[in-house]
Symmetry: C2
Subunit: 422 residues, 2 copies
């Protein structure tokens, strides 16, 4: 049994109504990795616990990254002048192919995990490569770095380059099951996630087999959906029997209760209904969608329609793991979309950016993303002292200042599920 | 006469063709504040000069900020959920009104100048407020901080709130001339700039008087142009005799040889021709244009048509003075515009972002923005060591890494017109 402790400071999180909530000069109690409550005065029964006193500092729930390609971290920010296919061929495919080498994987995934550890992200759902051994290395690296979440060994048995395509559907499935069996009990905080790269790179037999594995082992699924228009046209051509891209995943059992679909820039009405019915999480990746010119997902519509939405860095379509940047990118993109659509509808409110990066995405991992009684205790303490001076007449202004000034470098203490990382 | 010196390191700037140029392990000579050349080996004649050795470090020309509201710096990042008019009324107008108090101005402009000094910006063209004494305080603060550029006492005699409107046209013009006379010879590196806030806030008589002052004293002009569609409609209504917004400025002599027009999101064909003929600089402010939902300026078209273009932070429409952020914002905005226009035309190349922030905007200040013989010697040394490890197989990749990782905080040494600031 984990010991309890108390954290003291100015707690900032969001409500289910996507509103910012401040509890300043408050005391949060952690017991067995879960939040026992946030109190204006520390109740008698917990006064014997050790106190980590961050009086005056802002304390956020950890940030959640629903979509990131760990092997692409090493070239984040490179090659954005390329067209997408050139970028994949010049950078993504040859780099990912190197992860066949476990030593290479260990070195590079170690760096990825170390940098994530230092920042504000506490939960992550990551793509590895098609190599099962490499995916296990990534899980170990994240576990050792103290993070929580999921990792996927990627599947791709068609329409992929020779250097990065599995030998056959049978081998792809057998490797996946072997990887599941080898890892699912090894890492208390990192789960295996079924990860078809996306529809075009998986044969129907592979999709069906992955759906069966997800069901057999009760695993989550992650993939890409409706990222760009050429991709959507290709899927329509490959699966003429399905009325939409999302329907292809559904047909093969790949929209289970725990599921993340990245991007969703161009969901049609039927797809939105389907994702809502299935409880699928949309990983909104505004930085990537600008960098590689995919477009802007109408994220306010998804929220207002009741879809589950979180943010993804989508490194290396995104150039940084920093989820504060992802929040700012989400706001900018939504504001521009409003303008470029002629000023109709609404734009994302600042408070909703924090919701997406905490409670919105956190829900994929269970009771995560806010300081609620019974929820897992993720927290990051942020140092505001190095930012330019600003008037802080209101709590709202203090929140806005954080939104526009903070970065991973400002995190001075971090907890994941009650464990203190630093 | 200023002493000469030599700077040694990896020089990165752009050519007139908007291409990146590396001169690594090279020696730049500064004499009398100007660059005498960049050499693979230090020529004999300069071997007696002191050497600032930054071997292995990247050295950029200073960055140039063509548009920033100095009094708004204190609330940068606040209030972006507001509509524009609410934002002006809640934040901009009441804050600017406080600069009637010279002590208030001294404290806040001092902070603005100190933060600019620490970053990568070497040249700036700033709006103060309508208060002449405050504008002089800003000039002094920038001069003392070691920066170079221009400052405008703002003019506004109509359609402005009571707390921020000049008493009369005559007073506005008299105050402006008094401010010009009091400052134009006092600050070797900071010039007064004629600054009508924008057409709606200036009566025709005021515009005419400001045009006459610009001519009389040979001063530059700065203002706003075509930032958003409501503003354009209002100008059309106020000046039915002028066929465009830009034409109003031109009619009153406010597009002189040295001129910056901020934003230019919606220039029509005739306005583009007029600005090109007059040699007006467009201050492209992509961050602000997203934050306050103005739109996206088609900056690749302006460049390809031969307009002069630089970048502006537009604090506090922009949330940061950091021009590295402005470069990234310019790239994202252009990529999204390309997509949202259906994938026709082109998007801004990465190299062009550096061009805009250095040579493009630098040309407004004279021979500034590149390491060319005879040009003013602005330079910033950037520390790359704290960024995540990346493969740097090519110079192009090293440049891209800098573009996506660098910030004002990474500047370790800085020169403006040959003076070392730190």
């Amino acid at each position: 049994m984990m010991e309890g402790f108390v954290l003291h400071g100015d707690f900032l999180d969001t409500t289910a109504q996507r509103r910012v909530r401040w509890r300043k000069n408050a005391w949060a109690v952690c017991e067995d990795g879960r939040c026992a409550g946030v109190f204006d005065a520390l109740p008698e029964r917990w006064r014997g616990l050790p106190v980590h006193d961050c009086a005056g500092s802002v304390i956020l729930p950890g940030l959640t990254d629903l979509h990131v390609h760990a092997p692409q971290y090493e070239f984040a920010g490179l090659g954005f002048d390329h067209q997408l296919l050139d970028w994949l061929e010049a950078l993504a495919f040859p780099t990912e192919a190197r992860y066949a080498d476990a030593d290479y994987a260990r070195a590079h995934y170690g760096r990825f995990a170390a940098d994530l550890r230092q920042g504000a992200t506490t939960r992550v759902c990551a793509f590895a490569t098609l190599h099962g051994a490499g995916a296990a290395v990534l899980m170990e690296a994240l576990e050792q770095a103290g993070l929580a979440g999921g990792v996927g060994k990627v599947n791709m048995d068609r329409l992929s380059p020779d250097i990065l395509r599995e030998e056959s559907t049978a081998v792809s499935l057998a490797d996946t099951e072997a990887w599941i069996l080898a890892t699912r009990e090894n890492f208390p905080h990192i789960r295996p996630v079924i990860t078809p790269r996306f529809v075009p790179s998986c044969s129907p037999e592979l999709l069906a087999g992955l759906g069966a594995l997800a069901e057999k082992y009760g695993l989550p699924v992650q993939s890409h959906l409706d990222e760009n228009q050429d991709e959507i046209a290709l899927v329509a051509q490959l699966h003429p029997d399905c009325e939409s891209y999302a329907r292809v995943y559904d047909k093969y059992g790949l929209l289970p209760a725990e599921c993340i679909m990245a991007h969703c820039v161009y969901l049609d009405a039927a797809e939105r209904r389907l994702l809502r019915e299935r409880g699928v999480f949309v990983a909104h990746c505004p930085g990537s969608n600008a960098n590689i010119r995919s477009g802007i997902a109408p994220v306010t519509e998804y929220l207002d329609e009741g879809l589950s939405v979180g943010l993804g860095s989508d490194v290396a379509g995104g150039y940084t793991l920093d989820m504060f940047t992802a929040m700012r990118d989400a706001l900018s993109a939504s504001r521009l979309l409003w303008r470029l659509r002629g000023g109709t509808g609404r734009w994302l409110r600042s408070e909703e950016a924090l919701f997406l990066a905490t409670r919105g995405g956190g829900a994929f991992f269970g009771q995560v993303g806010a300081f609620e009684p019974g929820w897992e205790f993720d927290a990051v303490v942020v140092d505001e002292s190095r930012w330019p001076a600003r008037p802080q007449n209101t709590d709202a202004q203090r929140f806005e200042r954080l939104l526009y000034q903070a970065g991973d470098r400002d995190v001075t203490a971090k907890y994941v599920a009650g464990r203190r990382l630093f």
